[in-house]
Amino acid sequence: MSGDADSRPSGPLGGLKRRAGEVSERAREFWAGASRWQRWLVYLLLIGLAVLAPLPGIGAVMSPFTDWTSLLFNPIGIYVLLALGLNVVVGYAGLLDLGYVAFFAIGAYTMAYMTTTYGFTFWPTLVLSVAFASVSGVILGAPTLRLRGDYLAIVTLGFGEIVRITAVNTTAIGGARGITNIPHPPDIFGTEFLLDPLPYYYVVLGLIVLTIVFSTRLEHSRVGRAWAAIREDEDAAELMGVPTFKFKLLAFAIGALVGGMAGGVFASKVIFIEPNNFPFILSATILAAVVLGGSGNIPGVIFGAFLIAWLPERFRGFAEYRILFFGAALVLVMALRPEGILPSRRRRAELRSGTGGLGALGAEVVGPTDTEAVTGQKTTGEVQR
């Protein structure tokens, strides 16, 4: 973290940041040196924390204004799940997707339509939701993934709007009025799924854990390394024999899959969905969660999604002004910590290597990630200002 602190003016804020940096650095070192049982202990602790989260005592502190368990399901659980899915696309493969909400919508509509029209039950339909969403990810990706960053952003944005407007205009799926009376999931182990949000929270929690395991495994596999290569320099990756198009498509499909899964669960909890549940601003919010937390780093992404979902609800006391503050806070955090609150180590190395990003005013390609950069020190070849 020393490079970080050196490169900026110190002051009261700088000191605080350095201290925070040291703490996070120590945590990282512990983690890197931790043995297998220590890691499992931490995992179990975290899962235990998540399982105990709906306790009323915690709720009284975290959310005095709204029902805490409902919040834990939506927006918190749903946002975390969506952010984890988008993290695969944005954080791992480095593809800017501004229409992620489309997959969420497709998952939700699949669930709603299949259960109300054909009388399917929850679990098989959830599989269908996932399948449809990932197929639509491939359909969107196949023609568009050859486009470069910003063009991809606008095309995905367009896709999100197309899905929403199509839902508004198609009477077969309810048009602007949406679909009502979506059935709840059947009982599991005698637990009824009705209006109480608690069982839904545990379903989402289970899916979140599943997604975390799935995406960490992916990150450290051949696929994850290919994504990192594509993210850092697509041309170089292609030259090294990485089939970039295939891997980008895979990232898109996996991201879509998680989005569809979230959509399916969401639909069966809320009973009623309409196109306005899936506005563009939701895509932007999820993207903000990923980047704010530290894109590419799973704890960061979860933390970011949690903050983004929770803060506006916590400060409901400020009534209408909370969204205003939310906007200002995004600007502020990005100004103070552009790499996100808990950046992934690799990402930070990329940033510190310094030739990429806005600092160099428009250099497209991220600079070389040499060993010096990895240790967090400034490289000499920095050409900014």
Partner: protein, 310 residues
């Protein structure tokens, strides 16, 4: 003709996106809110003047000029302030473009809420809850049919929109291509490092780019208000997306591309609405965008603020 008028407004907003993108390689997401500020600035002037009925002749031209000046100042100023607050710190930190995008989204949310909660209720004397409702504007121009080409009627207001937009674009073209400042902008777009070495002040140029783009959005705001006679805090969103689409369609970073993209998008939407019904026009616009990008991945005219084909 309606499509052409629409297209001109898109094109004016698209210029702001394209200029900022050309210089910084950054999607200025909050540009739509700069446009929104333009509509409200002109509405404010209209309320101050206390317009009683539609104007004609010199009074109309004078009023339009006044509105444009005020809206350009308001939007341009807001754009510069936005750059100062939301983008400059990130540029100094060498942050990724993704971070800048998030910052822009944050600024966009902030400005929308600021207008919905504070500016509209206080300045436009609406009840506290009314901040989210549309604010009507008085009629500025009569809707007379001036002349017809084939079976297309040309109305006074539409003609005014197109002419005013054209004037602004010619003016911007002159600034970018014929002045010292314009040369600085083009140099920075082409190669920022070399531009610095040649003694161009990057900060100054960036500020100027935002000012010019903001001013264009201000004029777009005036024209929008004149044509639709209503605005709200959310007005920038849909138009901003369309304008950005227009910029990409024509080739982002390229001023002529923004013009072409805006007009093409406006016309396509109009025709699409005729053939498939108006509820599908947004879908058609985006589909066209996807198709164009598939065959010409850098837009119709390609990206080239650098190559001075401004």
């Amino acid at each position: 003709m309606g499509g052409l008028a629409f297209g001109s407004i898109y094109a004016l907003i698209a210029l702001g996106y394209t200029m900022v993108y050309g210089v910084l390689r950054l999607i200025n997401f909050a540009h739509s809110e700069i446009f929104m500020i333009g509509t409200f600035a002109s509405l404010f002037v209209l309320n101050m003047v206390g317009l009683t009925g539609p104007l004609t002749g010199f009074a109309l031209v004078g009023m339009l000029a006044l509105l444009c000046v005020v809206a350009m100042a308001a939007s341009g100023g807001a754009a510069v302030l936005l750059e100062q607050v939301a983008y400059r710190p990130l540029r100094k930190n060498g942050a990724s473009r993704l971070a800048a995008l998030i910052s822009a989204i944050g600024a966009s949310i902030f400005l929308q809420e600021l207008f919905a909660l504070i500016v509209i209720p206080k300045v436009f004397h609406r009840p506290q809850q009314g901040g989210r409702l549309p604010v009507p504007a008085p009629r500025l121009v009569n809707r007379d049919v001036l002349f017809s080409i084939g079976n297309a009627n040309v109305r006074t207001d539409q003609l005014l929109v197109v002419v005013a937009a054209l004037v602004m674009m010619v003016a911007l073209n002159l600034v970018v291509n014929r002045t010292r400042i314009g040369r600085g902008i083009r140099a920075t777009a082409q190669d920022p490092e070399a531009a610095v070495l040649m003694g161009v002040s990057i900060d100054g140029i960036v500020r100027l780019t935002f000012l010019l783009g903001g001013a264009m959005a201000g004029v777009a705001g005036v024209l929008y208000l004149m044509e639709f006679e209503v605005t709200n805090y959310f007005v920038g969103f849909a138009l901003g997306i369309k304008a950005f689409t227009a910029a990409v369609l024509g080739g982002i970073g390229n001023l002529r591309g923004a013009l072409l993209g805006g007009v093409v998008l406006g016309l396509i939407e109009n025709w699409g609405a005729i053939f498939f019904g108006s509820q599908w026009k947004d879908v058609i616009a985006f589909l066209i965008l996807v198709v164009v990008l598939l065959f010409r991945p850098t837009g119709i005219l390609g990206e080239s603020l650098q190559k001075a084909r401004a």
